[in-house]
Amino acid sequence: MIECYIQEPCVLGPFTTDADARIADFRKALPAGRARRLTAMAVLLSEVLRRLPHEEDEPVYFGSTYGDTPSLEKYLASFPHASPMSFQNSIHPGPLVQAFVARGRPVPAFLPFAGGREIIGSLLLSAMTASAATRLCIVAETQATWMTQASIASGATFALGFRMTEAPRNPRFRVVRASGNVEASSIARESGANEGTEGFFQAMAEEVEFRVHSEAYGDFRFQRCCPGPI
């Protein structure tokens, strides 16, 4: 059994019809020089980093099923005259790299995960076994246009950031991972089951007790802690 603690998460969204307006608000909060060329998803992730600054030497674990799909749509639309900007932005961890480049500080350890229903299990197991006192975990998706209609991009725009610690430091959750046979991957709560990044985001946003079942990576129980120092 392995365990860790999660501090108060940073929850942005989910945004659907209001996504553009909220991104515009977040963009205004960034220094003008930094914000100008950032994609919408990079602005969202910059806001996560503004509220939850990366600590020196802290490994960063990023999870996104679809990545920056609006940039991907722009890049595809640019053919046959491929756009270099949209190409570099469309690379899987591109939006978070943009956000870190805008902040201008190196990140010693950065592990970007993709994946469908198993993405949260693999990200949690990786972050929980890291040799570090704290880890910064970020999960995000952004809605696109025709890719969303074709069910190959997210239907909502959201981001979640949280700091995982080995020792309890103002924890909101204690996370316990047990291995063994569990049912099919899902994120189970009293209200039902979801899966993937969106289900995990919703469960964390509600701050209820829940668990992430992963066939391959174990059973992660999120137990709510009282706010304030222990």
Partner: protein, 372 residues
């Protein structure tokens, strides 16, 4: 900011390994590289002027819009080449890495709107197709960080082994050149008609792109290849360019200096053929590991993108087993550092090698692997 140091004590080993390149398996690839054979050929990018816009590509299959795509056809031929066993379970998970996954099918979809292409167009759906072709019982973990993807896959597998949460891990990586990625690199002005000459002090830098598949098993069972330590750094100076002083290169070298002390090492470098990065890389290695011969094989295989770290590590392991390490293919004097090895050499005088990869964002991953 210092690079991150990952220690693999009390013991992580790299056991079964292999790859598929335009030359064939790891043995055939090593032989071809030792003979200085160049797999890259000048080819036109789809949609461009075939006379004017030829670039060096090393392809296993023609770059076309066929369905199933070239990567599916290549991977379908591999099941009996991979290490046997039930992969994809909680004790024996699989990590799949790529920078492109099935992105070729997404671009093709925008041309012909054949909805069947979308079934393998996303990272997880293409990986599920790979799992189906190779008979894995569960879905893999996916890591995608451009051209350090597979090097991070090895690192994450080692972390799980060290933490004793799994028995062994199969790290599998695939990347295939498509018009999507070739046009992207061309738009960044780092692809041109020239062939790559890694670490050579020329006037114009050039890179090539290549198809490849690679795999390695990471375990706690002792064998001839032991992973001693790793270092990572992400400069975050620019989306695609390195920090001009080379802080990321220096950082990962410094982080492993203590682990390397007392060991005679050779270095499998990244060496794409670009001038600035090649100079920074060669100088950092020469300063930190004086006398360690430095080689790159991207002058033959091209840059195999997210899979390069794993494929080139597999070729390195095959080279140690064969008793001959190919020199830097395509490189020629003058070179950026006196340690650049242009000719093949014996690994027998060495106790290990460093395997290095770099990527967009100034990402760097350096592994120290000890060999018998």
């Amino acid at each position: 900011m210092k690079a991150f140091h990952w220690s693999w004590e009390p013991g992580v080993w790299l056991s079964a390994h292999g790859c598929r390149t335009p030359f064939g398996d790891a043995t055939a690839t090593r032989r071809a590289l030792a003979d200085k054979t160049v797999a890259l050929k000048a080819r036109a990018i789809q949609g461009s002027d075939p006379e004017e816009d030829q670039i060096p590509l090393a392809l296993i299959h023609p770059m076309d819009d066929q369905r199933p795509s070239g990567w599916e056809r290549t991977i379908a031929s591999l099941p009996d080449k991979l290490p046997a066993g039930e992969w994809g379970t909680s004790k024996r998970p699989v990590i799949v890495t790529s920078s492109n996954f099935g992105i070729d099918q997404l671009l093709a979809y925008t041309r012909d709107e054949d909805a069947r292409r979308l079934a393998v167009a996303l990272p997880h759906t293409s990986a599920e197709r790979v799992a189906e072709l190779l008979g894995w019982s569960g879905p893999p973990t996916l890591i995608s960080h451009a051209c350090v993807s597979s090097s991070l896959g090895i690192l994450q597998a080692a972390q799980w082994i060290r933490s004793r949460v799994v028995e062994e891990v199969l790290v599998f990586s695939f990347d295939f050149v498509s018009p999507f990625v070739a046009a992207g690199f061309a738009s960044l002005k780092i692809l041109n008609r020239g062939f790559p000459m890694p670490y050579s002090d020329g006037v114009i830098g050039s890179i090539g792109l290549g198809d490849a598949v690679g795999w390695v098993v990471v375990s706690r069972t002792p064998g001839p290849f032991r992973l001693i330590a790793s270092a990572t750094q992400n400069e975050m100076h620019h989306m695609t360019a390195n920090e001009p002083a080379g802080s990321g290169f220096e950082g990962v070298c410094d982080a492993l200096a203590a682990d390397a002390a007392g060991r005679r090492l050779w270095i499998k470098g990244h060496g794409t053929g670009t001038l600035d990065a090649g100079r920074l890389e060669a100088n950092a290695f020469e300063r930190c590991f004086p006398g360690a011969p430095l080689v790159s094989w991207k002058g033959s295989l091209g840059h195999t993108l997210g899979t390069c770290g794993l494929v080139e590590t597999a070729v390195s392991m095959s080279s140690v087993e064969a008793g001959e390490v190919p020199g830097t293919v395509g490189g020629r004097a003058p070179v950026f550092a006196g340690t650049v090895a242009l000719d093949a050499f014996s690994p027998n005088a060495f106790q290990g090698f460093l395997s290095f990869s770099s990527a967009f964002g100034g990402a760097h991953v350096l592994h120290l692997i000890e060999h018998d």
